[in-house]
Symmetry: C2
Subunit: 357 residues, 2 copies
DNA sequence: GTCCCGCTGGGAACCGGTTGCCGGGGGTGG
DNA sequence: CCACCCCCGGCAACCGGTTCCCAGCGGGAC
């Protein structure tokens, strides 16, 4: 005897719909919707009955149905290489916190550097009608990258969404993109200048991948600081790896094994510096007595290395917050935007004056 | 002249619907749907036309509409206190990677320890029809916690979702919950035993909040290791703070200022150990020459502290992966499950034999 | 005592997909 | 040559909400 007798009681499995609530309250679905929306006049008695039914059935309106109906808050998406890296984690935290504050949910995707995964995810975000997609972290700035990213930006823009590049290479004029960067070159310049001011003349640079924009920005800063003093750095002192602790460790061991001459080291990342530091310790070298060392990022741990690491502070969390604010603040029609956040060096104990020579 | 003439060209703003695609391909919406779904026989010619229209219009099916229609992949949600903590970040990475591998999107929420935010988020997840909600990280195991969490679990279960507790206190029998823990007590026991085996008898414990289950598990392990040797630890050596670097730093300074007597330290966390280590350094103490130090978590940085930190390895990433596998592997009808992952101590340089006395 | 208006609440269309069911047309076998 | 069947594609209902539009009812004013 189907039809009338479908008894979906309170505790029973399966979600209850707005019509179930309406039935229990003895009103129509429209009324329930209106009570919950809060606009529209509803008599006090009816409102009470509806709210009681909602409470008793533990009803929550289906977010997808709302989305399809054109109401409902779109989610925010952010994509990063690896949330495990401390600076990425701080950006992610900023993004998530700010999104939540503004009432949005955050979808996250780690790509592990895989471009295909990034593409697939962004396609999904288009299907999700994401409010914005935030791409965080540097990337290789190749023509192919620009073209691909621009296509993504257009595609998102035409779907009413928006692409935000956070610490990523911009795309040139005309692309519907918001860019938020922090000053890699400036920070590295200031840091290297600090090291040079201590009298060091041969300073090893432990860099990242040669086409990676973050890595290159920092390397440019390192070079610029030299040239600003009329010095030309020895190309043999520029080493390339990636941004991991292991890379720093390996590079440092190689430098030592090859008996490169240097009195200070600038690492592209605190993680790299950490690896380098233990390699130095393993070799029995005193820091900063025999060699000075500086990092970049000012991750919390920098203070706990021994000696405490001199580094460059980057407002990662603020970067993330800013990214979502600008992403959400604009409709698709907004002009392209390009923000550049400042950095500052924080002096601790790992860089000392160059005594001898 | 409205009606027929609505020319929504390719590049124009606004997403295209399945009916737009159908119109362009000269077929009905059903056919487009079927071509994209891949099941159902469609003639080669029609399929080609449809696919071309899809490509030309850069069409993506709306995920919300699919969800409402009952198809489509539900997303996964995970909640943690602060993604900035290294161990949390690794769990998060594991969760996200495994979810992606299984074709699910991941929603993330940082609570900063705020219970209300946690509640709100979970309510949203019910509205999102999330496949599962993964709560990660310890919590205060109060009766109020159990009751509240159980209510959440029931509510999710009745909506066809599932709650997973990952490194969180279980709820007792009968709750529709999957629990995945790692062995805090066992790990701490093994670690403390290692320290005691080196001849130390007065070992300071730098713990977490007194009602926090993770903290308590580790403290129990510390105590149990003593008792297994017939020793009764001095209660004055049990200090309580939280799991941050700053807490370790502060606690250590206090212990030093109060001239507590100890020859070794077991910290509840590598972060705490890091803070403690720099406090030790600041006080001019040699580690492990004068004091031994051990941590917990085996975060990547542990190797780069000086001396390299002896600690307990926890398979955080695997924990995250496991959480999503078990969460997704079961319908709501599955039996309650309780998994316990093992840990092991990794011996480095920060614990030495107790020489003097 | 009417008339009119404002306050409430319901019916139905719509959002953008999926899918059960049905019907037309062409190929094949008798 | 006719009938049957199968292949393919369209119609319409449905998922769970929102909202436009309209109708009924009650009260106040004349």
């Amino acid at each position: 005897m189907p039809g009338v007798g479908l008894t979906r009681k309170n505790g029973e499995a399966g979600r209850s719909t707005i019509r179930d609530v309406a039935a229990r309250a003895g009103v129509s679905a429209s009324t329930v919707s209106r009570v919950l929306a809060g606009d529209y006049p509803v008599s006090a008695a009816t409102r009470t009955r509806v709210l009681r039914a909602v409470r008793e059935m533990d009803y929550v309106a289906d977010a997808h149905a709302k989305a399809v109906a054109g109401v409902g808050t779109p989610t925010l998406a952010f994509v990063l290489e690896d949330i495990t890296g401390p600076s990425f984690a701080h950006m992610a935290h900023g993004v998530e916190r700010e999104a939540a504050r503004l009432g949005h949910l955050s979808l996250v995707c780690s790509t592990d550097g895989d471009v295909r995964r990034e593409l697939e995810f962004i396609e999904m975000m288009r299907a999700q009608r994401a409010a914005a997609v935030i791409l965080v972290g540097g990337a290789a700035d190749t023509p192919e990258y620009r073209e691909r990213t621009r296509r993504i930006a257009d595609s998102l823009a035409s779907a009413g969404s928006r692409l935000v590049l956070c610490g990523r290479p911009p795309l040139g004029p005309g692309a519907p993109v918001t860019v938020i960067e922090y000053d890699n070159e400036g920070g590295a310049h200031a840091l290297a200048a600090h090291v040079l001011a201590q009298g060091h003349r041969r300073v090893l640079f432990l860099g990242g991948k040669p086409d990676h924009t973050t890595a290159m920005g920092r390397e440019r800063g390192y070079l610029a600081a030299h040239r600003a003093r009329g010095l030309e750095p020895d190309p043999a002192l520029l080493l390339h790896g990636d941004f991991t602790r292991d890379s720093g460790h390996r590079l440092m061991r190689e430098a030592l094994a090859r008996k490169l001459e240097f009195t200070a080291i600038v690492a592209a990342t605190d993680m790299v510096a950490a690896g380098a530091l233990t390699a130095l310790h393993e070799a029995g070298l005193d820091v900063p007595g025999e060699v000075s060392l500086a990092g970049y990022d000012d991750i919390p741990f920098a203070r706990d290395l021994h000696p405490a690491l001199t580094t460059v502070h980057v407002p990662y969390e603020e970067l993330g917050r800013l990214a979502v604010r600008t992403a959400l603040g604009h409709g698709a029609e907004s002009a392209d935007e390009h923000l550049l956040l400042g950095t500052h060096v924080v002096v601790r104990d790992s860089v000392a004056a160059h005594s001898g020579h």
